[in-house]
Symmetry: D3
Subunit: 241 residues, 6 copies
Amino acid sequence: MKPTPDAAPLLAFGAHPDDIEFGCGAVLARETQAGRKVHFVVGSRGESASNGTPAQRSREAKRAAAILGASIEFIDLGGDAHFEVRAAHAIKLAAIIRRVRPALVLAASVVENQHPDHVRLGQMVRDASRLARYGGLKELRRLKPHAIGQLFFYAVTPEAEPADLGRVLVDVSPPAVIARWTQAMEAHASQMRTRNYVELQLTRARLNGLRAGVEHAIPLFAADALVVDSLAHIERAVRRF
Amino acid sequence: MKPTPDAAPLLAFGAHPDDIEFGCGAVLARETQAGRKVHFVVGSRGESASNGTPAQRSREAKRAAAILGASIEFIDLGGDAHFEVRAAHAIKLAAIIRRVRPALVLAASVVENQHPDHVRLGQMVRDASRLARYGGLKELRRLKPHAIGQLFFYAVTPEAEPADLGRVLVDVSPPAVIARWTQAMEAHASQMRTRNYVELQLTRARLNGLRAGVEHAIPLFAADALVVDSLAHIERAVRRF
Amino acid sequence: MKPTPDAAPLLAFGAHPDDIEFGCGAVLARETQAGRKVHFVVGSRGESASNGTPAQRSREAKRAAAILGASIEFIDLGGDAHFEVRAAHAIKLAAIIRRVRPALVLAASVVENQHPDHVRLGQMVRDASRLARYGGLKELRRLKPHAIGQLFFYAVTPEAEPADLGRVLVDVSPPAVIARWTQAMEAHASQMRTRNYVELQLTRARLNGLRAGVEHAIPLFAADALVVDSLAHIERAVRRF
Amino acid sequence: MKPTPDAAPLLAFGAHPDDIEFGCGAVLARETQAGRKVHFVVGSRGESASNGTPAQRSREAKRAAAILGASIEFIDLGGDAHFEVRAAHAIKLAAIIRRVRPALVLAASVVENQHPDHVRLGQMVRDASRLARYGGLKELRRLKPHAIGQLFFYAVTPEAEPADLGRVLVDVSPPAVIARWTQAMEAHASQMRTRNYVELQLTRARLNGLRAGVEHAIPLFAADALVVDSLAHIERAVRRF
Amino acid sequence: MKPTPDAAPLLAFGAHPDDIEFGCGAVLARETQAGRKVHFVVGSRGESASNGTPAQRSREAKRAAAILGASIEFIDLGGDAHFEVRAAHAIKLAAIIRRVRPALVLAASVVENQHPDHVRLGQMVRDASRLARYGGLKELRRLKPHAIGQLFFYAVTPEAEPADLGRVLVDVSPPAVIARWTQAMEAHASQMRTRNYVELQLTRARLNGLRAGVEHAIPLFAADALVVDSLAHIERAVRRF
Amino acid sequence: MKPTPDAAPLLAFGAHPDDIEFGCGAVLARETQAGRKVHFVVGSRGESASNGTPAQRSREAKRAAAILGASIEFIDLGGDAHFEVRAAHAIKLAAIIRRVRPALVLAASVVENQHPDHVRLGQMVRDASRLARYGGLKELRRLKPHAIGQLFFYAVTPEAEPADLGRVLVDVSPPAVIARWTQAMEAHASQMRTRNYVELQLTRARLNGLRAGVEHAIPLFAADALVVDSLAHIERAVRRF
C-alpha cells in the first residue's frame, strides 16, 4: 500500500533550519523511502538562535534534507524571530505551492503558545493553501492554480500539539527510518550544544509509539476533516494501555 | 483499494431500530458493497416511540438491515428510553464484540445533549471495546479476548456531532449506495408519519458532500487517534468553499 | 413583534462582494421586510477571485443589495486576498459605525480556518465596535462616539461556524424571504460558474430549518452574552429530532 | 413587551430547598411580576445539609416560593446527597413536565465539578424534556406528550457556570425584584448560619449587572440554540468595560 | 521548603492495585521522603485483568506501597471492571476522607475515554470530597466533617491527561525518588508480562522532565483553582524548547 | 513564606495607564509589601480614551505605581488604540525583560474579545518572554539573555478571563493591601467620571474572595504549566459553596 513513485509530492514548511526535522523528520523519511518526492521550504537561516551562524545552519539543513531524501530551498519571511503575518508572505508561500503542486502540505502547528515564528508560519501556510486556488490573484497569474489534498500540522514540541484537531499517529518504527531521522537531527550539530533536542524527539516518538502499540510514532494534526472512500485504510487506532 | 471479502467485519450498535440506518446507513451500504461483513446490534425495539409497535419496528429494522446487506440481532439494555450506564450492560456488549471479532465498531456519539439512550449506548460501547480485551473478566471467560482496530461514533442528528473528535467524511456518492440507503431508511415506515427524518439525513449528506467536494458524505468521529503507516491513504480533505 | 420603521439600522460587513448575501442574506431580507434599514459595507471588489472582474462584481453586489432592500458602499481594506489586521483599517470601520449608528452589526465569523479575509474582517469589525465608543480617538473626533447593541457573526460556510459562541437560529421561512434571498445570491452571476454556492446555502438553510422545526433558518453567533429584560422573547429553541 | 398573564408557565427544578432561589430567584421574581405562572419542583428536603431539619427546610422553601409568587412541590429523587441518574427519575420529571406544560424549563447546570445532586438533576431534567415528547412511554401514557420551548440552566455558584453554552444575562434591576429576591433567599434562615450565601449571590448579580450595564443581572445558559423570528428582541449585549 | 512531619496527610485513591503507582508513584515517593504521611485506598483487587490473581495483586500492591512509604487499604466498589457511579460508593469514600483527614487528595482523572473504572473512581472521589463536608449526611454522622485543601487528578496514561484543567508538573528528579518509584512499579510483577508499563511511565516522566527543564516530572491536574498567599511558590514553569 | 527582599523582581506590563492597577493591583500591593521589587511598563498614555489628557494620565499612573510601591516607565507601542502585533515591538519588550531580569512577568490576557490593545500586548509579552532567551537576536546583543520563571496573565475585566488556562486565585485579603489597591485605582481620577471601574474591581475581588473562602482574591492565569518541587505550597483550592 505504498505510494507509487509518481505520487504527488509532499511539501514541508519550516520556520528555522531544523524545525521540519525535529517536528516530523521521521514521517518524511518514511515517505521518501516509499518513493514519494519531498521538498523542504525553510523560512529563515536561524540567525537569531543562540548557537550557529546562518551559513553553518544552512549547510546543516541541506545535509539533513539530503539524509532524508528531500530537496530544500530557503526563503525570506522577515528573518528569524521577526516573522509577521503578512499577505505578501502568504502569497509567496502560495506561489511555491503552485510551483511544487503537492498532494500534502506540512507546516508547524498554529498553537499560539510557542515560538512566534512557528505559529505565524503555520497560519500563513494555511492561508497560502487557500490562496493557491484563487485564479484571480495577480501576483500569481503566471502559475496555474493548485488545490492541495490535505494540510497536516506537525508540532516541534509537545506544547505545540493542538488539542482541538484530529490526531493521526504515523508509525515510523522501521529501524532504517529511525536511523535516518536521528542522523538528520544530528546533522544540526550547532544546535546540539545546549539542550537535549534529539533526546526530546526520540523520547516523544517512543512515548507515542507505546501509545500506538508500535515502536515509534509521530503525531500529525489534520487542518481539515479527512475524506475517505472506504474505512479500510483507517482501521487502526491508538492502543490504550 | 476496496476491502477484500475476508476483511474483519464491522459491528454497528444502535439504541433504537432505526438509529444505525439514519446515522450512518450509507457508510455501511458502501462497506457491504465493497465486500465487508457488517453486523447490527440493536438495543431496544423502539417501544417508547410515538409511532410503531415493537413487532412492527423489529420487522422494519430487519428489512432495513437486509437492504444494507447486514445481519442483525436485538438485545435488551433496559428498554427504549430506559437505558442506564451499567457494568452488566457493557459486559454484554463486550461479549458480542468478542463473538463478532470486528476490526471496526460503530456506535452513537457520546455528545450529552441528545436522546439519553444514544449517549448511554455510545458510552457503554466505548467501555465494552476496552472490556473485550481484559482476559480476567469472569463473565466473558468462555470467549477469547479481542482488541478492535478503531471505534467510530456516528451522529443520529447534527446536534449529536462531537466538536472535539477528529472528523472523517466518508464519501458515499455512488448512486447505488444512496439508493440503497434511502430504501433502508424508508423501510422504517412507522417513523415516516410525523417528521422528515429521511429528508433530514439526505439534506445533511448533501451538505457534507458539498463541503467535501463530492455528491454525498457522512461524518464519522474517531474515538481514538488514527494510526497509519503512510500518508498515502489520508491525502484528501474537506474542500472548503 | 416586528421592528418599527424607526428601529436603529443594521450594519453588515463583508470582505467580498457576495459574502454578506451568502452568509446571511435571508436574515437581512427578513429584517428589511420588517422595516429595518440595512446597510452593507464591502471590503473589496473580489479582484482575486477565479471569476468575475471587479467592475462586474461591484455591479452584482449593488443589484443583490437592492434586491434585499439594503444600501451598499465599498471600501478598501488592502485588496481581495490581501487583508491584514491593521489599526488604521479598524479605525476606518469604526468611523462607519459612528456614521451609520447601528443597533446591530453583522460580520464574518473569526473562526481561523477559512478565507483569511473573512477572519480578519471579523476581527477588525469586532475591534471597531469597541473603538467606535472611545471618545479620544483623534482620527474619529469629527464623529460622535456610538455604542452598538450587539455584534453577530455570520458564517459564509459551515466550516466557519464557531463552536464556542451562543448560536441563534433566525427563522427565514417566509417564501418571499427565501425567494428574495435566492434572487440576491443569483445576482452574483459571475460566481455561479464553478461551484454550487447557491445550492450550498439553500441546503444549509434547509438543514438548519429542519433542526429548528421550521422551513429554513440561518445561524448567527453572538459576540457577547445577550442581555434581556424578560424570557418572553427567547422561548423557542432548536427542536431536536 | 411583558408576557401576558396567559403565557405558558415556567417550570423550575431544584435539587435542594434553596437552589432555585439562590441560582435564579431574581429571574423568577421578574417573570411572576410580569404575570407568568411559575412552579417549583424540589428534589429533596435538604436532609444531608449541615444545618436545618427537613421540616424546617420545607417550610422555608414554601415561604420563599410564596415570596417569589410561585407554587411549589417536593418530590423524591433518592434523598439529599444521594441523587443518581436513573431512568425512573427522569420519567418522573417528564411526568411533571407533561402535567405543567411549560414553555420554559429551568434547572441546575450540568457542569460536573459541583454538588453531585445539582449536576444529576440537570442531566435528568434535560433528559426529561425529551422524554416528555415521546408518545409511547408507557409510564406516561395517561399524560399528553408536551414539547417545551427552551431549557435554560442556572448556576448555583459561579463555578457551575458552563463555558460552552450561550450565555443570556437577564436584567433584574428593578428594586422590587431585588427586594423580593433577597427576601426569598433570607427565608432560608437555617442556611444563613455559616456562609455568606446571600452576599455571594448579590455580589455576583451586581458584578453581572456591571458587565451588562445595568444594576443587577442573572446569567442563564441555553441548552439548545435559540430560534427567533426577528433580531429585534436580541439587540442588547454585555457592555464591556 | 519541605513539609514538616506533622503536615496533613495525603490520601491517594486507585481503582486497581497498580494505578496509583503507575499514575503518580514518584510524586508520592517524593512526598513521603519529605516527611508527609501518605495513605492508599485501592478499589479492587484487579480480578478482571488479564494477568495475576487477586491474592497476588494485593500482595504486590502492599509491597509497592511499603516501598513508597505509604500505608494501604482495599475497599470494594463493585469489583474490577464493574465500577458504577453510586451514591453509596461516594459516601463510602467520603467516610475514608473524614477518617484520614487529608490536606490533599489524589485520584484518577475523569477524562472519559479511558478504563471505565478509572473515570468512575475519579468522579466518585470528586463527589466524596464534597460529601465529606456536609454535616447532615446520616451515614457519616459518626465522623466529623472534613474539608480537604485540594484534589489533584493523576493520569494513568497520557490519554487520560485532561486538557481543560490547570497542569502542575511535579519535579521528581532526585535519583532516590526515581529508584524507589521504579521499584514500586516493578513490584507489580504480574503486570510485567505483556506490556511495557514501566517503560511507558519512565518515558513519560522523562519527556515531562525535558519539558520542565529537569530530569523527570509527573503531571497532576488541579480539580479547582489554586489559592495562594504569594507568588513566591509558583515562580517556575515549563521551560519550552 | 514571604519572598525575601532579594527575590527576583516582578515585571508587569499594561497597555494603558490604569490596566495593571485595575487588573491585578492588589496582587502587586501584596508582593511589594512582602519585599519584592515590582516594575511597571505602560505601553501608551491613554490618549484615545474618552477622558483624561496624556499628561494627566501619566501623572495618575506614576502616583498609582508609587502607592503600590512599584517603579514605572512608559514606552511607545504605536499609540493607544493603535497597537499592532509587530516583531519590533516584541523585541522592544524582550529588551526590557533582559534589563529587568524578572522571575515573574504579568501581562493582560490574550482572550480575543476585549480591547484590542490588551490582547495584542499580551501576545507580544508572551512572545517577548521567549525572545529574551535567544542569544543571537542582533537587536538585543548588548543585553544578556534571560529566562523568566513564569508568565501570568491578568484580566482587566471578567470577560477577559481565559477559560482554558490554569487559574490561580491570589489571596489579597489583608486590609492594608485592599486599602492601597483602592487608593491606587482612585489615583486614576480622570477615569472615575463615567463608569464604575473601582466598584467593578472590588465587587469582582469580593466575589473571588467568597469563592476562595477569604475576604478578597484576584485571579491570575498561568501561561505555562507550573513546576513545583513539592505539593506543600499548593495545598489550598477554591472552597466551593
